[in-house]
């Protein structure tokens, strides 16, 4: 049984470090797409429509601002982590029932991927400095972070983790917010690549069936359907 993992580049480095006994191929989409769910939806749909010789496609995306709502996979069944965004994937476990991307309200989560990707807080600030000068860019950054009281950097096995953590420290210092760190876990991402794709952690969608956002807001686990692994 072969698997394609179609994922956001935010988890690229972590995913590429996971070994697999079965054939697994990877495709990644730009993080820049996360700011526009309609564009991300179109990009995922276009990838899914490409004919591929795989038995299943596992998405390295969550609901991501409803970007995957309505998406169909015409050639292979889909398996999707039951998460709203990538934070639980990096942290290693699904969020507690009812919890959102901000498990702790006012916490801005970062990771190696979040410091390197397109259209992230860090890359936007650097672009802003070049365009508007340091003073105005800093004011813009502070405005964008108005609702936050701290950063939390999730430590993973990203190869440039230490460097990116230092960048995160600089970002935090610019706006005068504390930076805390937490150790992530590979558990969820390992399951994403190798299974088991249990229904508590993964949504299973048959070939050609549109992804329903309601599946991500259920707080109880659902019975495993035909697409689940034996």
């Amino acid at each position: 049984m072969s698997t394609l993992v179609l994922a956001c580049e935010v988890v690229r480095e972590e995913l590429l470090r996971i070994r697999s006994a079965a054939p697994v191929s990877f495709a990644f989409l730009s993080m820049g797409l996360h700011v526009a769910p309609d564009r991300l939806r179109a990009a995922i749909a276009a990838e899914l429509e490409r004919p591929r010789e795989v038995d299943r496609i596992v998405l390295g995306f969550g609901l991501c601002g409803n970007a995957i709502a309505g998406v169909r996979s015409p050639h292979a069944p889909l398996i999707i982590p039951r998460v709203h965004d990538c934070i639980p994937l990096l942290a290693g476990a699904p969020p507690p029932p009812g919890a959102g991307p901000l498990h702790e309200r006012g916490t801005f989560y970062l990771s190696g991927g979040w410091m390197e990707g397109e259209r992230t807080l860090y890359s936007e600030h650097r672009r802003s400095v070049a365009r508007f000068g340091e003073q105005k860019a800093l004011r813009v950054l502070s405005t964008m972070l108005g609702g936050y009281h701290r950063f939390l950097f999730i430590r993973t096995d990203h190869p440039r983790r230490e460097l990116r953590e230092r960048d995160a420290g600089q970002l935090a210092a610019w706006v005068g917010l504390p930076l805390d760190t937490v150790d992530g876990s590979r558990t969820y991402l390992e399951a994403l690549v190798n299974g088991p794709w249990d229904a508590a952690r993964f949504v299973h969608v048959a070939r050609g069936v549109p992804v329903s956002p309601e599946a991500f807001t259920r707080t109880t686990s659902v019975p495993c359907r035909a697409a689940c692994p034996p």
Binding site: L63, N66, R119, K136, A137, V140, M144, G146, G147
Partner: protein, 224 residues
Amino acid sequence: MTNTSLQQAVLTELADAVVALDEARAVDAAHEALNESVDPYTAIESGLLVGMSRAGQLFEEQEYFVPELLVASDALYAGLGVLRPHIAADRLDVPGKVVIGVVEGDTHDVGKNLVRIILQTKGFEVHDLGRDVPPSRFVDKAVEVGADVIALSTLMTTTMVNMDETVKLLAKRDLRDRFQVIVGGSPLSKAYADRIGADGYSKDAIGAADLVKRLVQQAPRVAT
């Protein structure tokens, strides 16, 4: 140049200053508008707001991103500060009252703030409740100020449900017919707005202000 073409040139300059993200240029253009006897109300509507609308279009086309929109709104505000004191008293009628905020559980307020700024620029009386606002605060504030429209914003799929909760609370308090409810935010759609029984949805800030205007004109506020 004729007087009319001079005035048109000033309006274009006001719009261009906002698109160019240039506060100082917007202030200069606003003074120029007053010097050329351009009606300040027209200078705002057909100058500054046209520029903001073009900045919004550039955002849609991914030429501009959130920092650009924030700096464009600085230029808009700067021009507004020069022009607003010169608007004739009879043009200062408040077209309507809006209670706006980010729903409970969410703290992303950049989009909501842009909507507030554009509504204020268009003369609306805006009561901004900020972020992480529980349904009851929206309802209580709308009753207190006699609002026409309650505008709800969120960026997160997990907190969209609190828009539904706010509409339900209005119904529970027998107030649903008294206020128009509009929703916005990147995970939302017209279909979602319809499903929760909202009166309107907009996918961007300029559209939200037009929507409020339309709703208020359609259903003039009843004195309470």
